[in-house]
């Protein structure tokens, strides 16, 4: 239950880190509350997959993957860059509503984007963005058993997920069509911001190795 309570106590932080990703995406899609819950489930599924994957790695090699400060920055930086690319591709190249930048709209028609954006976003944001996740990993890494590690992360996931429940209600605003454009633009800005963060983390990480 320690994982669950750790999740509960850090859920607000988790949500705060994930809303810059989730809310622009949900607004950009312009779907209703029920469909947004499906999106949230996909996102959380991705997050759970990321958590369990890391639970396994944590058990397998302990904290050695993050043993050096430099390698930690490098890995997180690379994840940030992948994540930011995902956001920017979503914002600029998967355009159902006309974007203000027409030249991008032309390129958009030529490109197909992965369908499971929420799953991928959940996976990457769970691993790269979430400081409480790193806290949980530190705790789990101190124990020896795989089952403990998996269970710990699963319970941590349950504890944090409670706080995501209100987010799909942004779908109540879907009749405001302008919000779709706002959501896409915000996703693009978030993508650019994380791209910068990722590049800086990679540079710092590479210098630290």
């Amino acid at each position: 239950m320690k994982g669950f309570f750790l999740g509960l106590s850090n859920g607000v932080t988790c949500v705060a880190y994930c809303t810059p990703v989730l809310i622009p995406y949900m607004l950009g899609e312009g779907k209703g509350v029920a469909q947004n819950f499906v999106t949230l489930m996909q996102f959380l599924l991705g997050r759970l997959a990321g958590y369990l994957c890391f639970a396994f790695i944590t058990w397998l090699i302990g904290l050695s993957i993050f043993g050096g400060l430099g390698s930690k920055g490098l890995i997180i930086g690379i994840l940030y860059i992948i994540f930011s690319c995902l956001m920017m591709v979503y914002a600029f190249f998967r355009i159902d509503v006309p974007c203000a930048a027409r030249s991008i709209g032309y390129v958009a028609r030529k490109i197909r984007v992965p369908l499971l954006i929420p799953v991928a976003a959940g996976l990457l944001s769970g691993i790269a963005l979430c400081p409480p996740f790193l806290l949980a990993m530190t705790d789990a890494a101190g124990k020896g058993s795989l089952s403990y590690s998996l269970f710990f992360f699963f319970m941590f996931f349950i504890g944090t997920s409670v706080f995501f429940i209100p987010i799909p209600f942004v779908g109540a605003l879907r009749r405001l069509q302008a919000l779709q454009i706002v959501g896409k633009m915000a996703a693009g800005i978030v993508g650019l911001y994380y791209l910068y963060t990722g590049i800086m983390a990679v540079i710092a990480g590479a210098e630290g190795i």
Partner: protein
């Protein structure tokens, strides 16, 4: 469609104008002086000049019926004087416009209204003000700015951006440099960008508990204060805000004759747009009188007028109530309006009520900044330096 020669909107008669200006003069005399004439000759001159300047412009607004023309003069003067006053103050207090880490840790960073959208979510969630400013007292405290913002929002809605914002006068001024725009076509979808920036800064401020817009984007740091460049990251931030200042506050307003920073970037403006919904004043179009010459669409500095607006008889939510469309309408079809009343109704009364609220707010809010700016300029002329 060919437009008719613009008719001069009807102003008030001379006698009525004098009476109305006299009311403003009494209020401004009390508020500007705060009940005492400065002993310092420069201060006294500044007080008199500011008083005359404000009341002359108010007289002209009422008498000529032209709102935007004279509002813009005051508004841009306010912005320029803020820069003069603020920079002088920073040089006196710190010896530099750059902000050291020590001042940040001591919570001595002046607070401005642009930070407000980023503070609201963290205040609600964590009861924390994520800005290293002084809560009460000191220069530009957080509490005083919140009080001013709430008052202006209730009185003016997004009218704040044309009647109170001490930065808006810059791009407003630059947008009037050329007679005709060089860039005429702007995709109206860009008006949604400030809302996206608002969403981004509000969410990231909540996530990282840091004022993202101030750190990364605020173009007005170029003319107020900025972080001393001590790292690559701060250098990148500096390049971004200087570029935004040159691009959105100077170059694009000149080329487009629009207030591009206010219309396409400012998250505070986006938030104020939402407050237009609760504000009692708006700008309405009398569909009976409108001949769809589209002059208002051409001149609106924030793209808040569209063909859809003409059909619906109302502006977009982003309207700043600057009065430019009202001044330019050849048929007098556009007017200030009080929600819930008839259109056109008592348009002159609505206009006067709005002007008293808006102009007095602008005059009182700006008076000490303009006076200080004049004193600094007089100091510069007489002593060769603006600072003590």
């Amino acid at each position: 469609m060919k437009t008719d020669t613009p008719q001069v909107p009807r102003g008030e008669g001379l006698g009525r104008t004098i009476i109305l200006t006299a009311i403003t003069a009494v209020i401004t005399a009390v508020m500007f002086s705060q009940g005492k004439i400065p002993q310092d000759p420069k201060g006294a001159i500044a007080l008199i000049l500011t008083f005359l300047f404000a009341n002359t412009l108010f007289f002209l607004i009422i008498y000529t019926g032209k709102t935007d023309r004279y509002r813009a003069v005051y508004f841009s003067t306010f912005a320029v004087m803020l820069i003069v006053s603020f920079i002088s103050h920073m040089l006196e207090a710190r010896g530099s416009m750059s902000l050291s880490e020590a001042k940040v840790f001591q919570c001595e960073v002046p607070f401005c209204h642009l930070v407000i959208p980023m503070t609201l979510v963290p205040i609600a969630l964590t009861k924390t003000i994520i800005f290293p400013g002084s809560l009460i007292g000191g220069y530009a405290s957080i509490a005083s700015m919140f009080v001013l913002w709430i008052g202006a929002t209730l009185a003016l809605g997004r009218g704040f951006c044309s009647w109170s914002c001490f930065y808006g006068g810059l791009d407003d001024g630059f947008s009037r440099v050329l007679k005709r725009p060089v860039i005429k076509k702007i995709n109206p979808k860009w008006i949604y960008l400030p809302f996206a920036v608002l969403l981004f800064v509000a969410l990231t401020a909540a996530a990282y508990l840091s004022p993202t817009y101030c750190i990364w984007f605020c173009p007005f740091k170029a003319v107020t204060e900025f972080n001393a460049v001590t790292s690559t990251e701060i250098l990148i931030q500096t390049i971004i805000f200087v570029s935004l200042f040159i691009g959105l506050v100077i170059v694009l307003p000149v080329l487009t004759k629009r207030r591009t920073q206010c219309a396409f970037l400012c998250p505070f403006g986006a938030m104020q747009s939402l407050t237009n919904k609760i504000n009692v004043f708006d700008v309405r179009i009398d569909k009976e009188k409108c001949v769809k010459c589209k002059r208002c669409i051409q001149v609106c500095p924030t793209l808040s007028m569209s063909e859809e607006s003409l059909e619906q008889g109302r502006t977009r939510i982003t309207c700043m109530k600057c009065g430019k469309c009202i001044d330019s309408c050849p048929k007098g079809a556009i007017s200030y309006h009080i929600k819930g009343t008839d259109i056109p109704g008592k348009r002159n009364t609505y206009r006067l009520l709005f002007l008293f609220a808006a102009f007095l707010f602008l005059a009182i809010f700006s008076s000490h900044i303009i006076q200080d700016g004049i004193v600094r300029i007089l100091k510069l002329v007489t002593t060769g330096s603006m600072i003590s």
